[in-house]
Amino acid sequence: MFSSSRMLGGLRDFAFVLIAAMTVLFFLLRLTGDPALVIAGEGASPAQIEAIRVEYGFDRSLIVQYGQTMLRLLQGDFGKSLTDGSPALGKVLASLPATLFLAAMALSLNLLISLPLGAWLGQKRTGAARRAVRGVLTVMQGFPGFVIALLLINLFAAGLEWLPSIGYGGPATWVLPVISVVSFLAPKLIRVVEANTHAALAADFVRTARSTGASENQILWRHVLPNALLGAVALIGAELAFMLTGLVVIETIFAWPGIGWLLVQSTLNLDFPVVQAVVFVMVVSVFLSNAVTEAVQALLDPRIRSRARAAS
């Protein structure tokens, strides 16, 4: 399915991005705050702070510290959280399931809504019902995710008191976060599926199928939808990658204990090792999600498959 040279290229890019991310992060964090002050806490004497500096090696030159940090990262040592002393990577891995869970639920619901709705919209340009749905979508696209989250909390948690507003407990706490994420991801996906369905319906292979006497249903399921889905895979992949790094505000609003929430907390607390571990895990997840997207594209599209075979 993949040529080995393409896979090597992908791995090389991944290594580069990972090193670049860790490097940029190291210098950004060191230039913005003094970790010794964070460890010492408020009210520490200058002597205490100095002692911590020596103990952790913060008194050495930035380049030496950078080298040491990278060496440790290479050995999988992310250090300990400055706030509670627990292993930084462990903290992140403990938060990862909550984010993955939210992303998986949002992704499934998004597909369940967007694919049929997009296909239905793409079948025809005219009609009152379709026009109304398009109007709703246009307005929906204007709602930022975190604004939807606040409005939903306003309505269902504060006003009607149907659902809990924050936390991560049973199914009742999942509803609002998932709906918030889906309601700003879905309009985009619906639009793309709609456009692709429309384009596929006008394509030669549909005309050919029709001329051979295939029914409209057969045409839609066998010829149009697979093609429309194909074009949507790239967007679905991008949305997945976005959910793995970009749910910072939604997770904060709902106090959802995922890596986005952890990222906000650790960045604001200047908890450098945890920030480093979160960013590391995010870069790896985005890489994996991109790799899966490419694999799915190749699986679905015989053209990409044959191109890859020809290249190898």
Partner: protein, 268 residues
Amino acid sequence: MSRSLSPAIVGAGVVGLFCLAVMIFGDALSGHDHRAIDLSMRLAAPLAPGHLLGTDELGRDVLARLLNGMRWSVGSALCATLIAFSIGTTFGLAAAHKGAWLGGALKLLTTFTQSFPSFVMAVTVIALLGDSGFWAVTLTLGLVTWPVFSRVVYAEASSLFQREYVQAAEMTGMSVARLYAHHVLPALVPTLSVLVVFHFAEMIVAESALSFLGIGAPLGAATWGAMLSEGRAFMLQAPWLTLGPAFAMVIIIVAAHSVGQHLRNLTR
């Protein structure tokens, strides 16, 4: 699609003119100072005498605060878009015109910005730039998002430089400035104009998200994000504190989207 003026684009035009008025006059349009505290008028509901959209927990006029927030958000989003546009277009053109390695670097950079959380970038860059002011946020947004432009410009311009009329112009010894002015830039205008408008809408959201989290705007400033964040404590008592900035934001974004859609239809 028709080229006549649709209701959507007329509405967007009205929103645009209103924006312009707010940029010039600010909270003066509401007849109140957005910082004026009036403890006798706390949490007044909308349509209260003298306060069209009500007041907040300190008796400050919500409309005045909304207008001040609009000045801040729209101004920041405009400047950030301009910064991202300038850097991104320059880089994208350079990569498409000269240099195989620039194209490769661009791809890596795109992957990098996709996986590096922009929140960390924003927080640290704002901290580096010193005070949490307007320019710190605006510069950060521009500097974090420009690869969006370079990616699109690179893709479009690369195919442009393969076209015969551009290659012919290059071969006849046309100066680079003339080549760009006559053949390259005009061809990019349709795509770029749409992209600029949509990017502006995204910058509105990004700026508000940052100030919602308490990053960017100085503490206590009347920005949409800060207002949304403060309004959370009064969701039941005073939902207008949340609804005001939420709908202001949505109106601006929908207006920007309909302008983008209109531009897209025009150039098709």
